[in-house]
Amino acid sequence: MWRIWLLAAAQFLGSLVGAILLVSLLPVIAHPPDGLWPFVTELAERFLKIGSGDFGRSAAGSPAMTSAWAAFPLTVQLLGLGVALALLMGISLGFLLSAPRAIRAAAPLLQIVTSVPVFLVGLALIWVATPSFHVITSADEPDLALSIMVRHGDWNSAWSAYFLPALTIGVAGAAHLQMSLRRAAAAAWMAPYRSGLRMMGLGLLDINLRFALPEIIAALLRDARGFILTLISATAIAEWIFHRNGAAVLFLNATASHDWAMATATLLLFAVFTLIVGFVGDLLASFIVPEDTL
């Protein structure tokens, strides 16, 4: 077990260094110096600066990482709500559709639903919410915390600022989750040990609870990185459509205006976040089903 954890820690550190190197490349490629040696020197300089936490100043003049960090909590709040909704919808849907007959019956419908791009889901939610619930989404709304809105009973603002974006993210996450769950379930149902255990006299419920369920949960945890990548993309889209000033929109605006200091800072935040989620997912999976390799 320790060998697996050490390997995971080494992978984590290697990936972190790789992520810093990757984001260091951006400003250097955007304004490449003449010649290979100046290129390498500037890249090394950037790498060391970013490694020590100096991302430079954004186009607005503020330290890039300070601005990115200030916008990150809103994104994390949306992501958190999105994860909760995705788990609620995705796990129930995935288990319902994991039975072979259900897969056959629901497959065409699911294909259509999962073919809808996330930004269309967001637009559809606004289209439904505006006339039905009189929810108004506008760029002028202040970026208040969800707790303040709920405390003041401002449900309209809470709906447009948090719940609708979170629902958009949740739908994207649920689509990813139910697919992972169905794949994991299909692999568990087809595992060769099942027939052996049946011959040994174990009941189907016993086999499913003691052997199949841990494998399914471990497979989902190993896919945590893919899940969070889907959610981050969906968060960028939700923040854009619902006019939320989170870190994802900050990244899009910074990239559009070629503000590479800000783009680098936000991109590294997302990369590290993904890395941590993937690392924790791998560790938890190795707890549940110990394997030789992560």
């Binding site: 992520a19 699911l110 294909q111 930004f119 637009l123 289209w127 990185r225 854009w240 559009a256």
Partner: protein
């Protein structure tokens, strides 16, 4: 219509659902390709032509899919935008397959474990969402090359899948027998590639096409993609965003065209469980 495909010694059951889904997907893509090829014939107005019809006309006999605030015929605009989206997605898919899938497949056989090193780099790129990578590549190059940028952004994902698939093939029983009997690595690679192309090319292409079409539309929706007057479906929907609450037809028909394009690509890549593999 149900049968069994033998692939590297393992029998794979092909259900009726898979056959029907694939046929629907490939047929749908074929139909879309015909519409795209004949877009100037099918559309009654050239791309971006204003005041063809009255402003904000709902769907009816005068304009089948209605008109927008500038009097543009939505049906014509949707057909032209579909042509731009489809051709851009085809370019991105071609790049993803040639650079991503084939390189991933060949990288396993590179000497000095160079393939594993490339796989590590590709793994690091996968820490960033494909959408973000596409946006960065467009910003670093130019919006004119947005289809190429999206193709390159998808490459790490396709490369990893190709590499992992080729790794499992390289460790398979037939590969061990081949190596033991002195068959050169290049011959083995050629043999695996031929089988892979024959069995999985539609799957890989369908998946890459669905991803490309979705990401292209999304980055155009953000304003990083297609440049007017060559508007694609994402840009068409973005332009309708300000008025679609009252004039739903401005966004609905381009959105439906996009969903149909992605759906056909995903159906073409359907595996036995009725979902994209």
């Amino acid at each position: 219509m149900s049968g069994s495909l033998s692939y590297f010694g393992a029998g794979r059951h092909v259900s009726n659902l898979e056959v029907v889904s694939r046929a629907a997907g490939v047929g749908g893509l074929g139909l879309l390709a015909v519409i795209v090829a004949l877009n100037n014939v099918i559309a009654r107005a050239p791309a971006g032509a204003t005041y063809i019809a009255k402003r904000l006309l709902p769907p009816g006999s005068d304009a089948v899919m209605g008109s927008d605030a500038l009097g543009r015929d939505i049906m014509s605009e949707t057909v032209h935008a579909l042509a731009v989206s489809f051709s851009s997605a085809a370019v991105s898919t071609a790049i993803a397959i040639f650079i991503g899938a084939l390189a991933g497949f060949a990288a396993v056989r590179l000497p000095l474990r160079m393939g594993a090193a490339v796989r590590v780099i590709s793994g690091i790129l996968r820490m960033i969402p494909t959408l973000f990578l596409a946006v960065v590549l467009v910003a670093l190059s130019s919006r004119e090359f947005f289809a190429i940028s999206v193709g390159l952004a998808i490459c790490p994902e396709v490369f990893n899948a190709g590499f992992d698939r080729a790794s499992s093939l390289a460790r398979s029983r037939h590969a061990m027998y081949a190596r033991a009997s002195g068959i050169p690595g290049l011959t083995l690679l050629r043999r695996d590639l031929v089988y892979e192309l024959r069995m999985n090319i539609v799957n890989v292409t369908g998946r890459a096409l669905a991803s490309s079409a979705t990401i292209l539309a999304t980055i155009s929706f953000f304003g990083f993609g297609a440049i007017p007057p060559h508007r694609d479906l994402g840009l068409l929907i973005a332009e309708a965003q300000t008025s679609y609450l009252s004039n739903w037809w401005c966004a609905l028909f381009p959105a439906l065209a996009l969903v149909v394009l992605v759906l056909c690509a995903r159906l073409a890549a359907t595996d036995d469980s009725g979902q994209p593999s």
